[in-house]
Each structure stands twice: as C-alpha cells, then as structure tokens.
Amino acid sequence: MRYSFIRSAQLCEICAKEGLSVSEVMLRREMERSERSRDDIMADLRSNLQVMQTSITKGLDPENLHHGVFTGGDAVKLNHFAASSNMGREMAEIVAAAIAVVEVNASMGKIVAAPTAGASGILPAVLLVCGRKRNFDEEMLCRGLLTAGAIGCLIASNASIAGASGGCQAETGSAAAMAAGALTELCGGTPEMVFHAAAMALKNVMGLVCDPVGGLVECPCVKRNAIGAANAVVSCDMALAGITSLIPFDEVVDAMKAVGNQMHPDLRETARGGLAATPTGKALAEKLHQ
C-alpha cells in the first residue's frame, strides 16, 4: 500500500516525497485501509469533534458539576481562577478543559476515547481551546485529529497505549504526544517538528506509573490529564521554536516500550502500587468496597 507506515521515519519520508502533511498521509492511509471515502472519514471525525466539544462544555458548566466517586468540580474551579493564574489565562483554560472531560467521563458521561477513556481529556482540550483562540476551522481541527491518530498508531504498534501494559506513560503520555504533534502541524510546523514535539511530550513522562486509587479512573487520572495537556502545549511550543529532541521519536517509543516491560505489575493499572498503595489510597479503596 502506498501510504502504509509503521515508523515515523517512513511517514516523514512519504511526506517529503509527496509534499504532503502528516494529516494528509494519515487520511490517505485510512482511505486505503478501510476502503472508505475521504468524506465518510471526515464525517466521522466531525462527529468525534462534536462529542469532544460537548464533553468540555458540560464539564465546565458551573450549574451542573460532574462528580465521580472521589473527584469532581475541579474543572470549574480552575476555569474561574484562569484570569489570575500564574500559567496564564489560555493555558489555565486548556488545563481546565482537560479536567472537564475526565470529570464528565468519571460521572458516566459521554466522551471520545483518545486514545483511551482515562486519557480522554488531553487531545480535545489542546485542540479545541487552542483552536478557539487561533480560529482553527472544523476542517483544521479534523486535520488535528488525523495527525494525532498517526502519532497514536505509531505508539500503539511499536509500544502500547494501555495502562495495563505500559503504565500511565502509555495513556496520558501517548495522549500528550498525540496532542503536541497535532497542535504543531496546525500551527504550521513541519512533519519533523510534529515528531520532535511528540517525542518531547513522551520523554517528559517516561516511566510514569499507572496507580489508580481503588482501581477507578479518577485519582490520579484527572490531574494527570491536566498536566498532560500542559505537557502537550509546552512540547509543541518548544518544537515550533526550533528546539529538537536529541533522541528521535521512534527510539523514544522503543524506550517507552522497554520501560513499560520493566515496570512491576503492581504499577500497571492493578491498583496495588504507587498512590493506590498509600494509607489514604487504601482507606479510600476500602470505603469503596463497603
């Protein structure tokens, strides 16, 4: 197949040879694989964007706070504080949006897994909140999802996107890499910059463990989505400024896989290690079972 790739180096080669963006190569790959038309695929992406936007809007509604078992209401708090925040209003709004989506998720609301439900806040927050400031239209936002999808496919094929096999680096790390690369392309970055951004985002959380208190997708998942969104924006800006990742993306992904394999099973979504094994974590889990 003409647009098949399994490594970012191959993908960048196709981009260079045909003069295409990462998102366009990804779209053509999907058309080849699924034998579906460009319009059909774009329609599904638009539908996903709509659900993403709704999950942000719902999670930021102060009249209707979303609560899980342990968490809730934090997105609204940060959104109120945005204007006085140290990180700046725009970043605070991005982070608040990421929290909003995961709070909606924890309250059994509708989200788009990107790449998983536990990491579902990062990509919509980065794309849609930055998109609003920069007037990205729907077509551009769909392109962002395509670029994010390309990065995610490369990680899933060569490492993992599941906390149970790779820890949190595989979930919120992958989501941050996807969002960082997507934003980089939408802001005019080259395919190489896209993968420098993605590589930096992954490097920033290499080795992060998956240690959900009580086994629920809440603590620390909600806050790791917050930091994941910030990670994506910082990595994107570094790449756009011309900063490169010393270790190439493909090797970072290989390292991430190796680190995931070296991780003790207690630190891979089993809720037996890390924060889940703290006295407070255990007490909360105990309460849950009663």
Binding site: A113, P115, A117, L145, G152, A156, I161, L288
Partner: protein, 220 residues
C-alpha cells in the same frame, strides 16, 4: 506487528469512565441481547475478578444491563439502565462473585431467549472496549464481534458448513474470519462467521432453512 486504524486511536465515542469496565461490559451484555433476538426478559449477571472488585465504581453493573437492553456503549441511557429495566418489566439481576476466572474482567450471563430457552454465556473485556465471548452453554468459543457476526448453532454433521458458506457465497458476502466449535463428535456444535459486509435478515432465515441440522442462527 499489529497495524492500527485511525479510529482505534480517535474513538470510540463511549459513556465513561472505563473502556474495559464500562464500554466492554456493555458490549458483552449487547451480545447476549442479540442472541435473545434483541429483547432479554430475564437474566442473571455475575461479575468476576476486577469487574466484581471495581465494578460498582466503574458502572460495570449498569453497563451490562444497558447492553442487555440493547443499548450501544455510547448510549446516554447507560447510567439509568437498571431503572429502565425495572420500568420495562425486565427481570435482570446483577451479582458479584470472588471466584477466580481465566480473565480478570469477566461477566457470566444466564438469560432466556425469545423462545424461553435458557442460555449460559461468559465473556471477558480484554482491553480498550474489545471483548471476547468465551463460552456459550458450556461450549468453549472465542470471538470478539469486531465485524458483523453470525453465530450458528447446529449439529456436528458433514455438509453443514458448506450449506452456510454456500448461501453467503451466493450473495457475494466475504467471510473475514470463521471458527467452528463442538464439544464432541456428532453432538452440538456452533460456528462463528465474521463477515466484511452486513448480512441481511432474510439471509439469516435462508441459512436457517438451508440445512435440517442447523438449529439456530443469530445475527450479532
């Protein structure tokens, strides 16, 4: 190395909080509802392992009931499924067990189909919303419903398979994956056929009447 598609990473749309404990659980329930012709009147669900331990917090119990009512994993009614089941007069009970199973996220469902026949089914949620149906009426099976799927119960006799594939060939439906299971020779058997295209309802009827050793055909 497995290659992934765009929508494996950007999607699915689903009701939270967990793709394995919520969306996967709903899909297991949904398979049972399809086997019952779309309407489960009576069922007992047993949740095992991690499903039992963290199921309440993840809404696993609600998700399986939603699936049994025929709701998809992105249906907003998932959260209120047990209440709806009661209002609609369905007798669905969910139990939690500490018995060890092969896979940590396992649900067993005993339900009645349209004709009042009792079916025992076991399914596991194997990650990312993907599922594996592992046993039906004591017969070990393995399929995931990732494609349009036909589940055919039949007697283990020569020619049954060709009569089924013949009908599909005649209508130019390509078989993507196919498995045949049986407990022992000449006894009850079942085949699972995953197709690239949708199978029309009229074909389901045609397959059933094609061979006297075909007992039942379910479109999942």
């Amino acid at each position: 190395m497995k290659e992934y598609g765009l929508f494996d990473l950007i999607g699915p749309q689903m009701i939270g909080p967990s793709s394995s404990h919520t969306a996967g659980a709903a899909r297991i329930g949904y398979v049972a509802s399809r086997m019952a012709g779309g309407c489960v009147k009576k069922a007992v669900v047993t949740l095992y392992g991690s499903f039992a331990e963290t199921g309440k917090g993840h809404g696993t119990d609600k998700a399986v009931v939603a699936g049994l009512l025929g709701f998809a994993p992105d249906d907003d009614r998932l959260r209120i499924a047990p209440q709806l089941a009661k209002e609609w007069g369905r007798d669905i009970r969910v139990e939690f067990s500490d018995e060890e199973m092969k896979h940590p996220n396992t649900a067993g469902i005993v339900f009645e189909n349209e004709d009042g026949r009792t079916i025992h089914m076991t399914g596991a949620s194997i990650g990312g919303g993907n599922i594996e149906i592992q046993s039906i009426n004591g017969m070990d099976v393995s399929f995931g419903c990732d494609y349009p799927t036909l589940l055919i119960f039949h007697q283990d006799r020569p020619g049954v398979i060709s009569s089924v594939t013949g009908v599909l060939a005649e209508h130019e439906i390509n078989i993507a994956f196919m498995k045949v299971f049986r407990n022992s020779r000449w006894q009850n058997a079942c085949m699972v056929i995953e197709t690239d295209g949708e199978v029309e309802d009229c074909l389901v009827e045609q397959i059933r009447s094609e061979n006297q050793d075909i007992v039942e055909v379910c479109k999942l």
